[in-house]
C-alpha cells in the first residue's frame, strides 16, 4: 500500500508539470530592473540633453517657442524612446536566457512562444497606432498610448508567466490614463511608468523568486 508521501509526491509532480508546461518562469526580475534603469537613463537624456532642461513640464505646442528646430527635437525624442525600447527588450531576452540556462531550462518552448505572441500583438498594434498619432501630429497622446498599449500587452501576457505581471500591467495602464489627463507632464509619467514601476517590480520579483 502506498503511503502519504507517495500521494503528495504525485500531487507535487502534477502541479509542477502543469505549471512548467503552461507558464514561462524564466523571466528574471533583473529584466525589470534593467529595463527600469535604461528608461530612467533615456528619460534623463530626453529632459537634460534633448530638451536642455529648459522646461520641466513640456507642452508640445510650446516647443516652438523654446526651440528653433522643433522637428529635430521630436525626431530625437522618438529616437531616444526607440533606443530605450530596443535596449530594454535586449536586456530582458538576455536575463531570461541566463535565468533559463541557470535552471537548465530551454528558452524556446511552446509556452515562451505563446508568451511572446501575447506580448507582441498589443505592442505591435500600439507601435502602429503611435505612428498614426505621430503622422497626425497628435503629440500629446503619444506617451499615453505607449503606456496604455504596454499595460495591455503585459495583461495579455501574464497568463503565460508569473501572475504578478498582471499588476504591473494595470499600473502601466493607469499611468497611461493619468498621463493623458496631464499631457504637459508626459516625460514625468514616462519616467514613472517605464522607469520607476519597472525598478519596483523587478526588485520585488527578484527578491521573491531569486533572492
Amino acid at each position: 500500500m502506498e503511503n502519504k508521501t507517495d500521494y503528495s509526491d504525485d500531487i507535487k509532480t502534477i502541479k509542477k508539470i502543469m505549471e512548467e508546461s503552461s507558464r514561462f518562469l524564466s523571466l528574471s526580475g533583473l529584466s525589470g530592473l534593467f529595463a527600469g534603469f535604461i528608461a530612467v537613463l533615456g528619460g534623463l537624456i530626453a529632459q537634460f540633453w534633448i530638451l536642455k532642461n529648459k522646461t520641466f513640464l513640456i507642452s508640445f505646442s510650446q516647443l516652438k517657442y523654446l526651440f528653433r528646430d522643433v522637428s529635430s527635437i521630436k525626431r530625437e525624442l522618438i529616437t531616444d524612446a526607440t533606443l530605450v525600447l530596443i535596449a530594454a527588450l535586449a536586456g530582458s531576452f538576455y536575463f531570461s536566457y541566463r535565468s533559463a540556462t541557470l535552471k537548465g531550462q530551454k528558452i524556446w518552448t511552446p509556452v515562451s512562444k505563446r508568451l511572446l505572441l501575447n506580448l507582441f500583438m498589443p505592442l505591435v498594434a500600439g507601435a502602429f497606432f503611435i505612428l498614426f498619432l505621430y503622422s497626425a501630429e497628435q503629440w500629446k497622446l503619444i506617451v499615453p498610448a505607449m503606456l496604455i498599449f504596454y499595460g495591455l500587452a503585459l495583461i495579455s501576457a501574464c497568463k503565460f508567466t508569473y501572475d504578478e505581471l498582471f499588476y504591473l500591467g494595470v499600473a502601466e495602464l493607469l499611468t497611461g490614463f493619468a498621463s493623458a489627463i496631464f499631457p504637459e507632464a508626459s516625460i514625468m509619467f514616462w519616467l514613472f511608468g517605464f522607469g520607476i514601476l519597472h525598478i519596483a517590480y523587478g526588485t520585488f520579483m527578484y527578491r521573491k523568486y531569486e533572492g
Binding site: Y7, I11, T13, M18, S21
Partner: protein, 98 residues
C-alpha cells in the same frame, strides 16, 4: 468526501502517464518533441504510454504537416480530463484524510 484508495485511477499510477496528462490538461495541444523535453523521457517510453492513453480514449492524436515535416500533437479528450480531475481529487482527499 470519503477518502478511498479505490477512487485512485490505476491507469495514472505510472509517472510518465501522470506527466502526459498533467501537460495536456493545461494545454490545448502539445507535440511529441515538446512532451519529450518537458517530461525528460525517451522516445520509445513516451510513445508506448501515449499509445496506451490513446487506446483508452483519454487523449487524441492530431497528425499534420508543418511545411514538409510531419508533426504529431496530442490533446486531452473530455473523458480523459474528467478522469484525470477525479484522480487529482482522490489524491488530495487521501492526503487530507491521513
Amino acid at each position: 468526501m470519503k477518502a478511498d484508495i479505490s477512487r485512485l485511477n490505476k491507469f495514472f499510477e505510472n509517472r510518465v502517464r501522470l506527466g502526459i496528462m498533467s501537460v495536456l490538461i493545461v494545454n490545448n495541444s502539445y507535440d511529441f518533441n515538446n512532451l519529450k523535453e518537458t517530461l525528460g523521457v525517451t522516445d520509445g517510453n513516451l510513445a508506448s504510454h501515449l499509445k496506451a492513453l490513446e487506446e483508452n480514449n483519454l487523449i487524441k492524436v492530431n497528425k499534420q504537416f508543418i511545411g514538409r515535416k510531419p508533426n504529431t500533437s496530442y490533446s486531452i479528450t473530455e473523458s480523459g480530463a474528467a478522469l484525470f480531475r477525479d484522480h487529482i481529487k482522490a489524491l488530495e482527499d487521501l492526503i487530507k484524510s491521513q
